[in-house]
Symmetry: C2
Subunit: 267 residues, 2 copies
């Protein structure tokens, strides 16, 4: 059972912290990147694979990190490396699919692209629009509002409405979480209604009245990552690991991979 | 008594909110700018002037806003409009100074440039470095860490250390708040020690136990803008309005304006 999640967004939006919070594993060694390194525009593609086994079911989870995205002064085309990576995986799958060993094909295609929106932006930034327009027909894009503890409840609500409106105005097709035949499934509908999810992550655990709480300690209070009233993090984890994992794989196979094959055949 | 403050930084970093918090006045009408407007790279220069009178002393305070800075996909040279504005004011002053009506000269030069650093960045972004290198010999640059309520106390401390180190490594000369003969002035030293100031702003006032408090209401607590334990905002206000206003004007006259005159004479 293979599942690949790609994380994309400007440096500092809490991507590695979120992956740690989700899977208790690290995507990169903790090295501080000196600012002048990122003046030339380079986007790296790094990946790390974890294998979990639960009740005899093996899950090979791959996280693809894209450091450098959006960090330069001139960010034109900084999505090219990302498109190239996604297409390389489709190309490999197409090759394997037409080969002799179809039964044991390894699925390294990207099933979900978590796109981190800067909470400080008034809505979508031009780079967000360009990225999503370039990739919405190649991969499931799941936009998330990073560091949602920057926003009050009303600011988060307003931002979600604005982001969805701008996504619609720009003809962008994001992953909506709408699973066929699951209209009565409360958990699925809860996730759908909250998109884009406002997320918070943390590597720190505190003792709050004898209870272990993962969160962020501020002079004015403690933000609890697992508290649904503080952020949508619990919904995101549910979505990726339980309610929507299969649908994300299905949509990749039936929509995005098909788009790739059509493009390939037209060449 | 003329004083001009310019605010520079990406959209959404809380610039207009900060000016409101400082001076209870607005720098721009509250219109939401649609995202696609900012795809072409344009930086506007807008200014608004307020006149205050206190104990018979009249203060003409001008705030120069620079919407569009850093908001495009390609931000090369987005500082050009800003350099042009600053030099235009020096040029006008030079002209007036050599004229007949020297006694009543109006000083419209920019005395302080509040440069908003994104709290999400790991240190300085390439754009921050380029901007400050281009302008540190033309105007007093006061870098501030915007939306400091995004950062825990230890993250803010680490960020200040890192920003100062990167400023030094890149040969950038920021306004240090070091006033001659004020080494024993506690208030001045407090400001100096806290640079770059971590600031928080708000347009909302809450009732907390019968006391009126300006701040931001989160599910996990209330951030108080005026509380020195929550942010450096009280230090910033003190600095701009009391302890450092005269020194900012002096440094503009004696350092930056002199640099301009030297450049002009060399042409
Ligand atoms: N306010 C806030 N800060 C966060 C959050 N998650 C991570 N951070 C902090 O943001 C900084 C950058 O996080 P990091 O995960 O390295 O960001 P990345 O560059 O996107 O991988 C670190 O100081 C984190 O502690 C969050 O949810 N809220
Ligand atoms: N977390 C946080 N949000 C802030 C702060 N100041 C302003 N904001 C919010 O950030 C958003 C953008 O603020 P605005 O002043 O319009 O930013 P500008 O585009 O830089 O002028 C608004 O929703 C503000 O309420 C702050 O200190 N902390």
């Amino acid at each position: 059972f293979d599942f690949t999640i790609m994380v994309v967004g400007e440096s500092g939006l809490g991507k590695s912290t979120l992956i740690h919070t989700l899977f208790l594993n690290e995507i990169r060694p903790d090295r501080a990147k000196p600012a002048f390194e990122s003046i030339k525009q380079t986007v790296e593609i790094n990946k790390v694979t974890f294998e979990f086994e639960e009740k005899g079911v093996k899950l090979r989870l791959t996280i693809v990190d894209t450091p450098g995205f959006g960090d330069a002064v001139d960010n034109r085309n900084c999505w090219e490396q990302i498109i190239q990576y996604i297409n390389e995986k489709y190309s490999k799958y197409l090759e394997d699919e037409s080969g002799l060993n179809r039964k044991n094909i390894v699925d390294n295609r990207v099933h979900a692209c978590l796109y981190f929106l800067n909470p400080s932006a008034h809505g979508l930034k031009p780079l967000d629009i360009e990225f999503m327009r370039e990739l919405h027909e190649s991969v499931n894009i799941i936009p998330v509002i990073a560091k949602a503890d920057t926003l009050t409840e009303s600011e988060l609500r307003a931002k979600k409405i604005r982001v969805l409106r701008e996504i619609r105005e720009n003809g962008i097709k994001i992953y909506t979480g709408d699973i066929e035949d699951e209209e009565d499934n409360d958990e699925v509908q809860k996730v759908r209604a909250a998109i884009p999810l406002g997320i918070i992550g943390s590597r720190t655990i505190f003792d709050v009245n004898g209870k272990k709480v993962r969160g962020r300690l501020y002079p004015w209070g403690i933000v609890e990552v697992e508290n649904g009233d503080h952020s949508d993090f619990p919904l995101l984890r549910n979505m990726l690991i339980r309610t929507h994992m299969q649908d994300l794989k299905d949509a990749t196979q039936e929509i995005h991979y098909e788009n790739y094959r059509k493009r390939k055949l037209q060449e």
